[in-house]
Every structure is written in structure tokens, then in C-alpha cells.
């Protein structure tokens, strides 16, 4: 298998960015996204955390809540390439990754790259496609490369997958396999904005402050790919106390023996919590991680990695209350 470099620009090793600058940049980015996506502050923060951590996000919510708008706004603010794939039952893996076409003129195979060759990939209604097609994203998400006809093509950095799924309409859907779910850093729940925020949204659309379509032209570019990579590097420099790391591990381990859960979190969840905890600390303007940071990211990290037991499902138990109990049951570290 040969290794190919993508012809898109991959920033070289980003220069170290001071933590304060990285925090300020992230804060500006958050403010800009909140201007577009009204009433979804928590969603914006979690998407931003995933971006700073270098992870992928599974977004669950009913249609019409601005998922596509969010991706476009993110792409605009960061000056990154973006692509959208509408997953359907007849979607083939090669429709995502690309394929080789025989060119009779040149008598050679020509690579036709799929939409996955981008930096921000919106996989809309990912559970509409069968497992074979979903699995095409596995290599993309984990190894950030795409193999076509034995040749591996590295993707441009930063690369982020934002997949959506509809929680209501489950007819004709294919649940994501555990291996793929585990590769998403976060599962973000996007819900209707509260009454006050919805009123504000409608008023802003009526005033023309924001467009009612997916127009994001009003947004200014905040940074670029190099800036994103610099922020990600800054996140990795944050100090992490051993007790905080131990807290994240204990949360993941406790989930494996927790009543009401058939399947607990893998070690990948512990890693995800510590990484995302660092990003959370940076967004809060700190250069160290606290147990509060771990707890703040524990829900989006764990909610798609855990599986309710059959009894719990029959009894109508939901994942969110169970996560609350898990977080209450695991002792927070004390100094």
C-alpha cells in the first residue's frame, strides 16, 4: 500500500501559541458561532470542545435545529473546506471515499476522490445508510486517511466529522455499530431552544439580523487551519493532575459495573474525557484541568458509549438520568 499526501495544504507543525492567546481565540470563535446558532450555547460549546480536541461529533436532534448551519458557520469562521453527505439506504462506500475509474484515453486508472476528502464533513442522517457504508467512515475517522485501490491518502488537517441522526424517525434506519460509535468523541444532543431564545431567533430573522436560510456570509473569518492546529496544540500542553486523570478513569470503569447498563465505556472514553477536559479548561481560560472539567465533558463523552440493559429499557429508563446517577456515585477527587 502506498502512502499519498493529499494535494491540499496541510499546515506544517504549528508554532506554539500562548495559552492565553489560544483561549482568547477560542472564546471569539464561540461568540461568533453563538451569533448564528441562537439558543444553542451548550451545543456550540461542545462542538468547539470537539474541534479543540481533534475529535468527531455525533449530533442527535430533530430536523430544523441548525445542524447544517452550524457546520457551514464553522467552516466560514475557520476558513476550512466542508462537505455534506446525505446518507441514504442506497449510498455506497465509494460514494463517500471515492474510487478509481479507468480512463480509456490514457489507459490508466484515475482517482475520483469522494466528498470525504475535506476538513469538515457533515454526514447527515448517518443511520440511514447500511452498516457497510457507515463502516467506510471508520478508517476516515480513526486514521484520518482514505484507502482507494490499495493506496492510502492522508486527509488534510484539521479534519472533523459531524454526523447527525434523527432520534424520532427510526423506520428504515441502521443503528451505528459500537466500533463506530466509539470513534465519535462526543454525542451532542441538540434540542429546541427555550421560549425566550426562540423568540429572539424569530425576531432576529424578521429584523434581518440573520438570514432565514443557511446564509453565513455575515460571519467573519476568525482564524484558519493553522490557527485551529495551534489551538489544538495548546490544549495538549495543559497540565493534568494525576488525581484528575484517575477520576476520568474511575468514571469509565464504574460504568462497566453500573446497574442498568449492559455495556460500559471503553478505555477510549477515559482518553476522550481527559482530552476534552483539557479543551474545557482552555475555554474557561485556565491552564490546568480540574475535576469540574472532566465532569463537564463526561456526559457527551459517555452517552453514546454506554448501552442500557434490556430491563432498564423495558422500564423506560433514560440514559441522561442514569448518567447523572453515575456521576453522583463516583467520588470526585479531593485535595
Amino acid at each position: 500500500m502506498t502512502q499519498h499526501s493529499d494535494d491540499r495544504v496541510t499546515p506544517a507543525a504549528a508554532a506554539p501559541m500562548p495559552l492565553a492567546d489560544a483561549a482568547a481565540l477560542a472564546s471569539r470563535l464561540e461568540q461568533a458561532l453563538n451569533q448564528v446558532l441562537v439558543g444553542q450555547r451548550e451545543v456550540v460549546r461542545e462542538i468547539l470542545l470537539a474541534l479543540l480536541t481533534g475529535g468527531h461529533v455525533l449530533i442527535e436532534g430533530v430536523p430544523g435545529l441548525g445542524k447544517t448551519l452550524l457546520v457551514r458557520a464553522l467552516s466560514r469562521c475557520l476558513a476550512l473546506d466542508s462537505a455534506r453527505i446525505q446518507f441514504t439506504p442506497d449510498l455506497m462506500p465509494t460514494d463517500i471515499t471515492g474510487h478509481a475509474i479507468y480512463d480509456p484515453k490514457s489507459e490508466r486508472f484515475r482517482m475520483r476522490k469522494g466528498p470525504a476528502f475535506t476538513q469538515l464533513l457533515l454526514a447527515d442522517e448517518i443511520n440511514r445508510a447500511p452498516a457497510k457504508t457507515q463502516a467506510a467512515l471508520l478508517e476516515v475517522m480513526q486514521e484520518r486517511q482514505i484507502t482507494i485501490e490499495g493506496s492510502a491518502f492522508a486527509l488534510a488537517e484539521p479534519f472533523m466529522v459531524l454526523a447527525t441522526q434523527n432520534p424520532i424517525d427510526q423506520e428504515g434506519t441502521y443503528p451505528l455499530p459500537e466500533a463506530e460509535l466509539d470513534r465519535f468523541l462526543f454525542k451532542v444532543l441538540i434540542d429546541y431552544p427555550d421560549a425566550e431564545q426562540e423568540q429572539r431567533l424569530v425576531r432576529m430573522v424578521l429584523d434581518g439580523t440573520i438570514g432565514d436560510s443557511l446564509a453565513v456570509a455575515s460571519l467573519a473569518q476568525i482564524t484558519d487551519a493553522a490557527g485551529v492546529l495551534a489551538m489544538q496544540a495548546a490544549v495538549r500542553r495543559l497540565s493534568l493532575d494525576n488525581a484528575v486523570l484517575d477520576y476520568a478513569v474511575r468514571l469509565a470503569r464504574q460504568s462497566r459495573d453500573f446497574p442498568g447498563l449492559a455495556r460500559g465505556a471503553s478505555p477510549r472514553a477515559s482518553i476522550a474525557m481527559t482530552r476534552a477536559g483539557r479543551a474545557h479548561a482552555l475555554l474557561d481560560g485556565r491552564d490546568f484541568v480540574t475535576p469540574d472539567d472532566i465532569k463537564a465533558v463526561a456526559r457527551p463523552v459517555l452517552r453514546h458509549r454506554l448501552c442500557l440493559s434490556a430491563d432498564a429499557e423495558i422500564e423506560g429508563l433514560r440514559m441522561e438520568p442514569l448518567l447523572d446517577r453515575l456521576l453522583d456515585a463516583v467520588p470526585a477527587p479531593r485535595q
Binding site: P259, P291, A312, E315, L317, L322, A332, R334, Q335
Partner: protein, 494 residues
């Protein structure tokens, strides 16, 4: 027992298991008043005991309640004994009359006879016959003669039924509990063993409510049956029935012969009746031996209640056996052993009271408006005694030694301890510093200490998790703030 028509049960010699069956029939007929009597007798004492010693961990309350079972059973037996003769006493009246029937040999049954396996079978002897001690002992020996009365088997059966029923009630409640709530319960129980203990106690009490009257009825039926076998209680009612049947058959003949009979001297008038003869025989020496007893007794106080339990207790404690009692060649030895035995018993009871004095003390109940939280949370002690007497001086000393982390730690703990004292701050195991602050900002937004904690938490978090201790001046400023905002209303500055 001689007034046959008044009996509510047919007096006949039965096997022991048939007698127990008679007891179950008695219970089925009188279950409502018996259960009422049981509840009136035991509910308040049970609640009082479990209020004094809550939870399952302290086994003293259930142990005490179990030990006092002979006391709780006395009104039940009294009701059975009266109901058998058709006398339906109101439960409240029965309880008011408790001093009349309740204290006979009660001390024996609560002490050295407590573990007797035939308790319900023997209780009628102690409670209903009220015979002198010697006759009681003889009666018990007679009751123990073969064939076996199955009094012990009845107790064994009841104990197993009681435990099984209590466990079944708990399991039933557990099964019927909603799953979501049971998950909460499962984690709640880790810290709240008292609630689980309370559930166990409630189940046990319900099981006793169902079974204890049945146990008393069956024991009473066994006692009746044994005496029927030994003393032929069934003969008189049987003969009476025969007489009544014959009287019915020969009534026409008697009507014809009446004039002749009127002329003849009436033998019945001259001869004593069968009943009188029976009474005379039963009162005779073989059945009811007479003896004269001389002993020192406590003089009854003029206005005292002769049925007072303590008077009865003292009287029995110092009661001396008659001088005619054969004690062999060393009459003083028996007295000495008796005194030693009582002294040993009293010493054991005093020792038990002394060793369990901390349990006997009524625990301080939390004020309803200020629930107390556990004082140690995952190693972070909030107990006032874990802090220095003079927190401010200790903080200054730590700063003087250059240990700013210890100084801030002391300040943080002292603030939490103060909030705990004021508002019963409850901190779950999973609560972080941020959670504590958010909780207080929601529940106690007006307390100056909440505002102070909002300033202290970032400094503490930076020191604890960021390894970036605050400056001495900042800590001293926080200390000053704490001394001002930490004062309770009416206190001066520290």
C-alpha cells in the same frame, strides 16, 4: 370449664396437631379483635423503640422488642381465654385491665424462662392459673408428661413462618418497586442503611402482626387440650349432653309418671348434685393441697396500687420459701445460693446497661429545617473537631511556614464546615468544588459565606489542581473576608 353451654369450642380430647388446628380456628374467628389488641399493645412501643434506635444497624430496638414478646402476648391470651367463654371484651378495656392479669410470673418469662421453646403453651399456666410457685412448677411438670404436646414444635414453626413471611414481604416490595426507583434505592442504600433497616423492621412487624395472635391461640389450644386429656374436662359436657338427650326421650314418660314421682321422696333434693361433688373433690387435698406459709412481706403502701409491677417484682425477689421446705442439713445454703443468684443477675443487668449506655442515650435528632450532612466526604473532613480551634491563627502559621496550600485548604474546609453548620450543606460523593458552589448559589444566594466561597473557590482550585498557590496577600485578604462574612448574626469579629 364446667359451664358447657358457654364454651365457644367443643371440649374434646384431640391430638396435638388437631389442637393446633383448633387454635387456628380460634384465630380465624377472632382475628379482628386479636389483631386490634396486638396493634394497640405493640404499635406505640415499637415506634418508640425504633425512634430511639433507628435503623437495622443498631440491633437493640428489634432485640428488645423481640425479648418483650411474652409481655405483648399477654393481652392476646387474655382475650382468647375470655372469648372462649363467650365474654367479648373490648380491646381498650382489656388493656386497661392489664394490671389485673398481666404481671403474674411476667418477670420469670422475661428473664430465665424467656428462651423456653414452649412459651405459648406454658403462658396460660403463668397468666391464667396464677397458682403459687410450687403448684405452678408441678403443673408445668404435669403438662410436660407424654404424649408430647408439641409446644416446642409450634414455636419452631412460628419462628420459621415469621422469618419467611418477613423476607417474602421484603422481596415482594422489592419486586413491585419501579426499576428506576430501585436503582436510586440501590445507591441510596449504600449510605442509608437505616432506610433498608426500617423496611426490614416494618416487614418483620407486619409478619408478627399476622402470626403472633395465631401463635398465642395455638398455644392456648394446646394447653386446653392437655388439660382435657389429664383432667377429663370433656366428661362433664359429655355427660350433660347425654343427660339432655335422655331427658328429651323420657319427657313423655315423665309426664305420665309425674303424679307418682310427686308422691315419692325426692332423692335429688337430699343428695348433693354432681357438680357440687366435683367441686368438693377438686378442692380436696389430692387436687389442691393446702399449706401454711409464713414469710416477710413488704407492707403495701396505703394509697398504692396493689397491682403495681415493681411491688410485685420486689415481693417476688424477696419472697422466702416456707421454713418447712426441706433444704437438707444446710438450710442456710439455699438462702445463700438464692441471694448469690439474684446478685449475679442484677450485676449482669447493670453491666449490660453500662456497656450499652451509649445506645441507651437518646440520639440528638436533627432539626427538621436543617438536615445534617455527613461530616467526612471522601476524605475531606468537615467536622469542627478536625479543624484547629483557632483557624485564623493556624492559617497565619501555615503562611509563616510558607505552606500556602495548607493555609488555603484550612480556609476552604473551615468555610464548608461553617456552611454545614448553618445550612446543613449536603455534598454528594460525586460533587466537585464547582458543584458545591453552584448548589450554594442556588440554595443560599443571600448568605455572605456563599459570596465568599465564590471568591475562595478559584484560588483554592488553582492551588489544588493547578499547583499555582495564591499569593500570601491574597490568602490574608481572603482570611479577612472570611472572618467578616463567616460570623453568625450577633457575633463579633474573630
Amino acid at each position: 370449664m364446667s359451664d358447657a353451654p358457654r364454651h365457644q369450642a367443643r371440649i374434646a380430647p384431640r391430638s396435638a396437631w388437631q389442637a393446633i388446628d383448633l387454635g387456628t380456628r380460634m384465630y380465624r374467628r377472632w382475628w379482628a379483635p386479636l389483631t386490634t389488641v396486638w396493634l394497640l399493645t405493640t404499635l406505640l412501643p415499637a415506634l418508640a423503640l425504633w425512634w430511639l434506635w433507628p435503623g437495622w444497624q443498631s440491633a437493640l430496638a428489634p432485640l428488645l422488642f423481640w425479648w418483650l414478646k411474652p409481655l405483648w402476648e399477654r393481652p392476646l391470651l387474655e382475650y382468647c381465654a375470655r372469648a372462649l367463654f363467650g365474654e367479648r371484651t373490648a380491646p381498650l378495656t382489656l388493656l386497661r385491665q392489664f394490671p389485673r392479669y398481666g404481671f403474674s410470673y411476667l418477670f420469670d418469662q422475661l428473664t430465665w424462662r424467656r428462651l423456653s421453646p414452649s412459651r405459648s403453651y406454658h403462658t396460660p399456666v403463668f397468666q391464667l392459673e396464677k397458682a403459687p410457685r410450687k403448684q405452678t412448677r408441678q403443673r408445668l411438670q404435669v403438662l410436660a408428661l407424654p404424649p408430647s404436646s408439641h409446644g416446642g414444635a409450634l414455636t419452631l414453626l412460628t419462628v420459621h413462618l415469621e422469618q419467611g413471611l418477613a423476607a417474602s414481604l421484603v422481596v415482594l416490595a422489592w419486586v413491585l418497586f419501579p426499576w428506576e426507583a430501585s436503582l436510586t434505592l440501590e445507591y441510596w442504600l449504600d449510605d442509608q442503611a437505616n432506610a433498608f433497616g426500617a423496611a426490614m423492621l416494618v416487614a418483620w412487624y407486619l409478619a408478627m402482626t399476622l402470626l403472633q395472635p395465631l401463635y398465642v391461640c395455638c398455644g392456648f389450644a394446646l394447653y386446653l387440650n392437655k388439660r382435657t386429656w389429664l383432667e377429663g374436662w370433656d366428661l362433664e359436657p359429655g355427660l350433660g349432653d347425654i343427660g339432655r338427650r335422655r331427658a328429651a326421650h323420657i319427657a313423655p314418660a315423665l309426664a305420665l309418671l309425674l303424679p307418682l314421682l310427686c308422691l315419692a321422696p325426692t332423692l335429688e333434693a337430699a343428695e348433693p348434685s354432681v357438680r357440687d361433688q366435683a367441686v368438693e373433690i377438686l378442692a380436696g387435698e389430692p387436687y389442691m393441697p393446702m399449706q401454711t406459709e409464713q414469710a416477710w412481706r413488704w407492707k403495701q403502701p396505703p394509697s398504692g396500687d396493689s397491682s403495681n409491677f415493681f411491688d410485685t417484682l420486689l415481693r417476688k425477689l424477696f419472697e422466702r420459701e416456707p421454713a418447712s421446705r426441706p433444704l437438707g442439713t444446710l438450710p442456710w445454703l439455699g438462702e445463700l445460693l438464692r441471694v448469690l443468684a439474684w446478685a449475679a443477675l442484677i450485676a449482669v443487668m447493670l453491666w449490660l446497661l453500662w456497656s450499652q449506655r451509649h445506645r441507651l442515650a437518646v440520639p440528638a435528632r436533627p432539626a427538621p429545617t436543617r438536615p445534617r450532612a455527613p461530616l467526612v466526604i471522601q476524605g475531606l473532613s468537615l467536622a469542627p473537631e478536625s479543624l484547629p480551634v483557632d483557624v485564623a491563627a493556624a492559617i497565619r502559621e501555615a503562611l509563616h511556614e510558607g505552606d500556602r496550600r495548607r493555609a488555603l485548604s484550612l480556609l476552604y474546609r473551615a468555610t464548608l464546615a461553617e456552611l454545614h453548620q448553618r445550612h446543613g450543606l449536603r455534598i454528594s460523593a460525586g460533587a466537585t468544588e464547582g458543584d458545591v458552589l453552584r448548589q450554594l448559589q442556588q440554595t443560599q444566594p443571600d448568605d455572605p459565606l456563599t459570596g465568599f466561597l465564590a471568591r475562595l473557590t478559584p484560588a483554592w482550585v488553582r492551588t489544588a489542581w493547578g499547583r499555582q498557590p495564591a499569593a500570601d496577600e491574597h490568602i490574608l485578604a481572603l482570611l479577612k473576608d472570611w472572618q467578616h462574612s463567616g460570623q453568625l448574626p450577633g457575633e463579633g469579629p474573630a
